[in-house]
């Protein structure tokens, strides 16, 4: 169906694709995996006419074609859904789908005709897309199906999907995969770009693995496994299971009694939560996103106004319910926030300045009359964090904005570990982070636990919370609905608690 032959592409000095050969057979689901920056998206954007290759050729159905623009690709039956949707929020599904391929002649726009076609396609592939809905009212999963529909409407026979599951909840992923399988049954070909190995194994027929701009493996999915794929992607052995010894727990570091959070408008995202995190253990909280995890963690970190809270938060014997973020930090609470851009980083500030956020007013950062910042101390601290946590590039003068997501996360984690916390609040520690770095972060978290720190972990990646946690709570609609032993509980059992609450 699609073949890339010896594709080479440079951006300035960076070799993004180096003699890349990819063969996608018709009627298959083909996964392209690799870490961020491995060149997966670049290769596929070349196939879609977004970029022009410096060398090499593209074959569609066995013939060489010059694909200069996405229009050429569409004419050849190639469609692409990008990681960031390209939809007009205020227009309807039908209007978005016909945008750029408006039916009808001249001025009149034949939306009725288009709507019929959209309904027909929607039924054929069970997309459940209503042509009359306005985009901004749709969930992310539904918007993604609109994007799929856009490609199908233009008679795409080959769909390229760039990290399609990054924005979906676990339930939506399942649904999305069954749509892809139906497409395959109907004779479509699908290319899915991803770095999540479980998904590759679950959905694809064939896999191409890329690393540093080169293809390093072509495999039949049936004949491979996660360990082999991870090794190819990273270039060395990777531990996918978290290795840890049984927890040696001490007394309770954090105790929460009947905590409720009320937000503006009267809604209560957190209802009557009680929990205890002991020294030396990782307590996990599993739940579908938006079930109060965010608010719970912000409440514990001191980022909500005390007037929004009821109940009691204690750190060891001290009641800190009324205290602000600064005092809580001084008592040994560190926080790796959910949204690293909004909460965790000063994007315009350089890495050195970011590495002192939260301790910027204290010895040894502040020297000279308790007022002036000690540049030497700041740079030493930054250096220790950048080197200790493998932040690349390790240049303290770069603005935080210039780092990739994974390196930004490592910077935040390094900064929070550096304060030797007694209690660490962690939310989604590995979201958008490469496999190699995930392994690194997991090891660091377990290491911190072993040194006696209490860790409270929230993650939407069920496998992550299950493998890291010593105990696991399940949150549903703001309530703790159960506690399971992650060593014996099954995904199904936890999944049911997460979605139904019982």
């Amino acid at each position: 169906m699609l073949e890339l032959r010896n594709i080479t592409k440079r951006f300035g000095n960076v070799l993004a694709n180096d003699k890349v050969n990819i063969v996608v057979k018709p009627g298959t689901i083909h996964a392209i995996v690799g870490e961020n920056g491995a060149g997966k998206s670049t290769a596929m954007r070349i196939a879609y006419g977004f970029y022009k290759a410096d060398e090499g050729e593209i074959l569609v159905d066995g013939h060489v074609h010059d694909i200069e623009t996405p229009h050429d690709a569409i004419a050849l039956g190639i469609g692409m859904v990008h990681q960031h949707f390209m939809l007009v929020d205020t227009m309807t599904v039908a209007e978005n789908i016909v945008l750029g391929a408006e039916p009808g002649s001249g001025i009149a726009l034949d939306l009725v005709q288009a709507s019929f076609e959209i309904r027909r396609l929607s039924e054929e592939f069970k997309l459940a897309v209503n042509p009359g809905s306005v985009i901004e009212r749709l969930s992310v999963g539904q918007q993604q199906r609109v994007e799929l529909m856009k490609a199908l409407y233009r008679h795409a026979r080959l769909l390229i999907l760039d990290e399609p599951t990054a924005v979906l909840t676990p339930q939506e992923v399942e649904e999305f995969f069954s749509i892809l399988r139906r497409m395959r049954e109907q004779g479509k070909t699908v290319v899915i770009i991803t770095h999540k190995l479980t998904e590759v194994l679950a959905i694809s027929d064939e896999v191409t693995v890329m690393r540093d701009g080169r293809v390093v493996g072509r495999l039949q999915t049936k004949e491979t496994n996660a360990t082999e794929l991870a090794r190819l992607m990273v270039g060395r052995e990777v531990l996918l299971r978290v290795e840890k010894t049984p927890a040696k727990t001490g007394s309770a570091e954090l105790s929460v009694r009947n905590l409720s959070v009320t937000v503006r408008g009267g809604a209560k995202p957190v209802k009557d939560v009680s929990l205890e995190v002991r020294k030396g253990e990782i307590l996990g909280i599993a739940g579908v996103e938006g079930n109060g995890q965010t608010e719970l963690m912000e409440a514990l970190a001191g980022l909500l106004s005390p007037s929004q809270l009821s109940g009691e938060i204690r750190i060891e014997d001290r009641d800190i319910t009324q205290e602000g973020a600064r005092l809580r930090r001084e008592l040994g609470i560190a926080h790796i926030p959910e949204d690293r851009h909004r909460r965790g980083l000063l994007l315009e500030f350089d890495l050195a300045e970011n590495s002192i956020l939260g301790v910027h007013y204290r010895h040894p950062i502040v020297a000279y009359a308790g007022t002036f910042l000690d540049n030497g101390a700041i740079r030493r601290r930054a250096k220790e964090i950048l080197e200790g946590f493998d932040v690349r590039p390790a240049n303290p003068d770069l603005p935080a904005r210039a780092l990739s997501g994974g390196n930004q996360q490592k910077l935040i984690i390094g900064r929070e570990f550096k304060v030797d916390p007694k209690l660490l609040l962690v939310v989604q520690p590995t979201r958008g982070v490469d496999i190699g770095a995930i392994e690194f972060i997991h090891r660091k978290l377990v290491g911190l636990r072993d040194s006696g720190c209490a860790v409270l972990l929230v993650s939407a990646e069920l496998e992550e919370v299950m493998s890291l946690s010593d105990r696991l709570l399940i949150i549903h609609e703001g309530r703790i609905v159960g506690e399971v032993d992650p060593k014996v509980a099954t995904i199904e059992e936890i999944g049911l608690l997460m979605t139904r609450g019982h």
Binding site: G324, R328, H335, R342, L345, E348, H360, T371, R401
Partner: protein, 355 residues
């Protein structure tokens, strides 16, 4: 490299503005080179031109710094105009009321009055924003009107020499006068009102730099300005920073009163400000919200102001309004640059291209 990048866009804006102005002068029917020659020649002539240029630059440095400090905290202080009036009146009031005090006591008291007056007037919108979330742009504009009206009233009914047709207070005590620079610099005549306030303005630039980039308070203020959520996460009280920033901003604007009252007119003169507060916004913007940039752009605006007079007098058709055209065009180009580089709030480095 970074310095070059920072200088590039303001420079382009200024050059482009001069080109537009030049075309305009041509259309009006004069020689642009001659007009610009007059403008720079007179503004930079020693001693009178330079003396006046530096004198005009003084209030603009203060107000530019005022806008800069607020801006670094993510606030737009449009109220420097009102703050500088209050500062000026406060310093005049001390100079009049305590006229007989020794200069060693009176001058510091007058300084404090200017700083406190402006600071309080700046703190009001800061407190309103921190407590109630009301927008500082609206409140500072409103406080400008209140300040102007209030001070006209006090001047007219309480502090004027009876029968004086001019809207000005009685003079301040001689002990409150600060020295003109002509006293220290040979060749600079003392009739030029350039005074010690100019030196104070330069010192303030250094202090503002130290404060913002070398102290923990400056770190907290700037952190709040670039990302209040992250600042809060780092244990910084955003509300406190807003009040602190607006107070400092107002205090800097209030120091214009030192130049005006203690160094120049020796009394409070109603409506003395030639839009210094508003020009300060342009000065800070062109100066890329950096103290050194503020000095440079304040000097440029002062050159335009001083140089406009001979352009008016010695050309056929061009009037000194050309100065306003140039100022406006510079601001337009600077604003256009901000537009090209993304939202108003992002006055950082050039966006790095991502590969």
């Amino acid at each position: 490299m970074i310095l070059l990048r920072e200088l590039l866009f303001p420079l382009i804006a200024v050059v482009a503005a001069f080109i537009v102005g030049g075309i305009l002068i041509l259309v009006i029917g004069d020689n642009p080179l001659q007009a610009y020659g007059l403008l720079f020649g007179s503004a930079l002539s020693w001693p009178v031109g330079i003396g006046y240029t530096l004198f005009y630059a003084t209030p603009l440095i203060f107000t530019g710094l005022a806008v800069l400090v607020a801006f670094r905290c993510g606030l737009l202080n449009i109220g420097a105009e009102g703050q500088l009036y209050i500062g000026a009146f406060a310093t005049a009031w001390v100079g009049i009321t305590l006229a007989n005090l020794s200069p060693w006591l009176l001058i510091p008291l007058c300084f404090i009055a200017a700083i406190l007056g402006g600071g309080v007037w700046g703190a009001i919108p800061g407190v309103l924003k921190a407590r109630f979330g009301s927008h500082e742009v609206i409140n500072t504009i409103m406080l400008n009107f209140i300040a102007v009206a209030l001070l006209s009233y006090f001047t007219q009914y309480h502090y004027k020499t009876p029968g004086d047709p001019i809207m000005q207070t009685v003079p301040i005590g001689e002990g409150a006068h600060i020295a003109r620079l002509g006293r220290f610099i040979p060749g600079l005549p003392e009739f030029i009102p350039l005074n010690l306030a100019f030196v104070l303005a330069l010192i303030c630039c250094g202090l503002v730099y130290l404060f913002l980039w070398r102290t923990k308070w400056g770190y907290e203020l700037r952190a709040t300005g670039t990302n209040p959520s992250a600042a809060e996460y780092g244990g910084i009280s955003v509300r406190k920073q807003i009040i602190v920033a607006m107070t400092i901003s107002g205090a800097l604007a209030g120091m214009v009163g030192i130049n005006e009252v203690l160094g120049y007119r020796y009394r409070y003169y109603d409506g003395f400000s030639d839009n210094y507060g508003f020009t300060g916004i342009a000065v800070a913007l062109l100066g890329r919200n950096h103290p050194v940039g503020v000095i440079i752009s304040a000097l440029l605006f002062a050159i335009l102001q001083r140089g406009g007079i001979p352009v008016d007098a010695f050309t056929e058709h061009v009037t000194k309004d050309i100065v306003q055209v140039l100022q406006g065009t510079i601001i337009l180009f600077v604003a256009a640059e901000a537009f090209f580089r993304g939202p108003f709030a992002k006055f950082g480095l050039l966006n790095r291209s991502k590969v």
